[in-house]
Symmetry: C2
Amino acid sequence: MVDYSPLLENINRYVSLTGEEATELTNIVSTSKVKRKQFIIQPGFVCQNRSYIVKGAFRVFYIGNDGKEHTVSIGVEDWFVTDFYSYINQVPALNYAEALEDSVIFQMNYNDIEPLCKKIHAISEYFRLTTEKAFAFSRRRVISSISKTAEERYEEYLASYPHIVQRIPQYVLASYLGISPEFLSKIRKRKASKS
Amino acid sequence: MVDYSPLLENINRYVSLTGEEATELTNIVSTSKVKRKQFIIQPGFVCQNRSYIVKGAFRVFYIGNDGKEHTVSIGVEDWFVTDFYSYINQVPALNYAEALEDSVIFQMNYNDIEPLCKKIHAISEYFRLTTEKAFAFSRRRVISSISKTAEERYEEYLASYPHIVQRIPQYVLASYLGISPEFLSKIRKRKASKS
DNA sequence: TAAATAAAATGAACTAGATTAAGAAGTAAC
DNA sequence: GTTACTTCTTAATCTAGTTCATTTTATTTA
């Protein structure tokens, strides 16, 4: 018997589901264990799922024309991992999603979720509200990346997600901040010597 | 008598509203004329509205610690203008939204929209689907800004929005792409001499 | 139509951050 | 515990893009 409470509590922060609605939702959830370094999304394949992280950590990244990895998002417990563009348009993904640790996820398929959103108003509202939040957040990141220096972005991330910084390799953080690992190393050294 | 058809057609691309639902929606819409250079959002004030552009062009920008303007979004007819973070959290905005031309907008207030989303399932779905799309788009922009050169981002914008490039001042585009106006000028010169 | 203002172009000097290459340190695998 | 593999650090060199200062060209306003 799977314990869906982390997901249901997340949902409950935005809307209230009846018992029956909650059951309809958990009926479409499937649980997966994912080993470190394993991919759950790969370029060329359509991203079929919204994946809720029960335990572990993931990153979404893509490989640019320059042949380098660029990390689009990093997620830990109680976050979702998706290649959103691929998911909503149901077209092949451009990104990888990789487990950074041995992880457990709840997966919900596009073909199950969409009808459920049409059917159950509260679930539609849940995804509306959470996506609005994610969108507002994403805009902030755009602002950061066009208006702040590498060091400022690093400070900002450190202040916002101190617990995540501990968990992820430095080259992942660098590729998330949009800088080279060497330069992040330099920033860290600079900071360390200051304090 | 105001003609709401542009907005209703936009909605119709995502969901279908009954006549009554459409009326409930248009009942909360108010129309405004906005002169060029006029602000509809300003830092310190809560962004109360989702504004649909009937005619004209807008940009959302903010002034960084460096004292420079950074353009967060540019919109023309059939787009929405909002400081999303301010709007969904109902906290004071950090951004300006400025009319780039004499414009006409449909404004819908947060305090009217939220109850309507709770009440009318199709309207909730409309905002869910459009925000999902906006979010996917925003993520792509993040990828661009962390992984592409200034010139590549310029080319990309030019290819995607050739009609908008004609309409907006160059310094606005530069601040959207995250580069200095001088450098954009240089890129353009470089391109012109090539072809 | 002139005068005033805003926007764009040009070029020289500068800097944040990339690149390259080599070594050090940590982790995993046998 | 030794070999191999991955991650992190350091330093020298290089470049995309900034800054600053000046001139040219558009656009407003009167």
